[in-house]
């Protein structure tokens, strides 16, 4: 998808992260569903760490400042965002070989769906802002 134009940039990033959040949600739900299945191994998507890494490596896309007093404007692009699926390390051993920690998974579920809802809200507001600009511009 083109990352330029009216629906590029932040829209593109939000869209991509929304997709990844919903995938992470599926993984967490699968872990919760199999909390009692013997020998099931829990999986997680390393999304936050990957986003941090991408932000760090994409620093060079900052806008150039001509005065030291100017506030930094950072172009946050999501190029190269490739989160990995990893097996969750087992902290408390269980007899049945299952590695799901139900408390952690419920916390992750809540966190992930909150972040998803927040992103959806942001996207919604961005569209509302565009709409406002379009409608008020013709008056």
């Amino acid at each position: 998808m083109d990352s330029q134009g009216m629906f590029g940039g932040p829209f593109f990033t939000i869209e991509k992260v929304l997709g990844l959040r919903s995938f992470k949600h599926n993984l967490i739900v699968s872990n919760i569903a199999n909390a009692d299945t013997p020998n099931y191994k829990a999986f997680d998507l390393l999304l936050e760490q990957e986003m941090e890494r991408v932000l760090r490596t994409n620093r060079n896309s900052d806008l150039m400042r001509t005065q030291p007093g100017h506030l930094p404007v950072r172009e946050r692009n999501s190029e190269g965002l490739k989160p990995r699926i990893v097996a969750v390390p087992q902290l408390s051993p269980r007899v049945d070989g299952n590695t799901v920690d139900i408390d952690k998974m419920m916390a992750k579920l809540a966190e992930n769906s909150l972040m998803y809802n927040a992103l959806a809200q942001i996207l919604s507001k961005k569209f509302a802002g565009l709409k406002y600009a379009i409608q008020e511009g013709k008056r």
Binding site: I28, S30, A33, N34, D36, A120
Partner: protein
């Protein structure tokens, strides 16, 4: 669709836990049954859960290769606990043997109660997951309104 997968997975867990609950109820209800159709005292039952990935069609196979690791819960079967029945001394009982001992089911009430709590909690966890999925879908539908 992404979110329908989440709902399918959660609902498979709900139905698996419900089957487990039914089995536990059956064990508790028959904790004192000394006669069954098969003869002998009631024997404790248990369910076997397995993580299940659907490979029946090309579509499912492709999806699991692309996303991986998403598995539903499947009830593989219901097994009978091989532990021997407990013997209780009760000479008045019609099912007592020559020494006066009655074979009563190998059901441990405490074990069943613990299993019951575990099944309830797992069921609640899946319900919470379904509610989270639902709120996310509704939020996604609000985009652009």
């Amino acid at each position: 669709m992404n979110f329908l997968d989440a709902l399918h997975i959660s609902s498979s867990a709900l139905s698996a836990q419900r089957i487990r609950m039914n089995i536990i109820s059956s064990n508790l209800a028959n904790a004192n049954s000394t006669r069954t159709l098969q003869g002998g005292p009631y024997k404790r039952k248990d369910v076997i859960f397995a993580a299940h990935q659907n490979f029946s069609t090309f579509h499912h196979m492709l999806k699991s290769q692309l996303q991986g690791n998403l598995s539903e819960v499947k009830v593989l079967g219901i097994i009978t606990d091989p532990r021997p029945p407990q013997l209780k001394y009760d000479p008045q009982h019609p099912d007592a043997n020559e020494q006066g001992y009655v074979a009563i089911p190998n059901v441990n009430l405490i074990e069943e109660m613990v299993n019951m709590i575990s099944a309830t909690r797992s069921y609640e966890a899946s319900v919470a997951a379904i509610n989270a999925t639902k709120s996310m879908v509704l939020k996604a539908l609000e985009i652009g309104r």
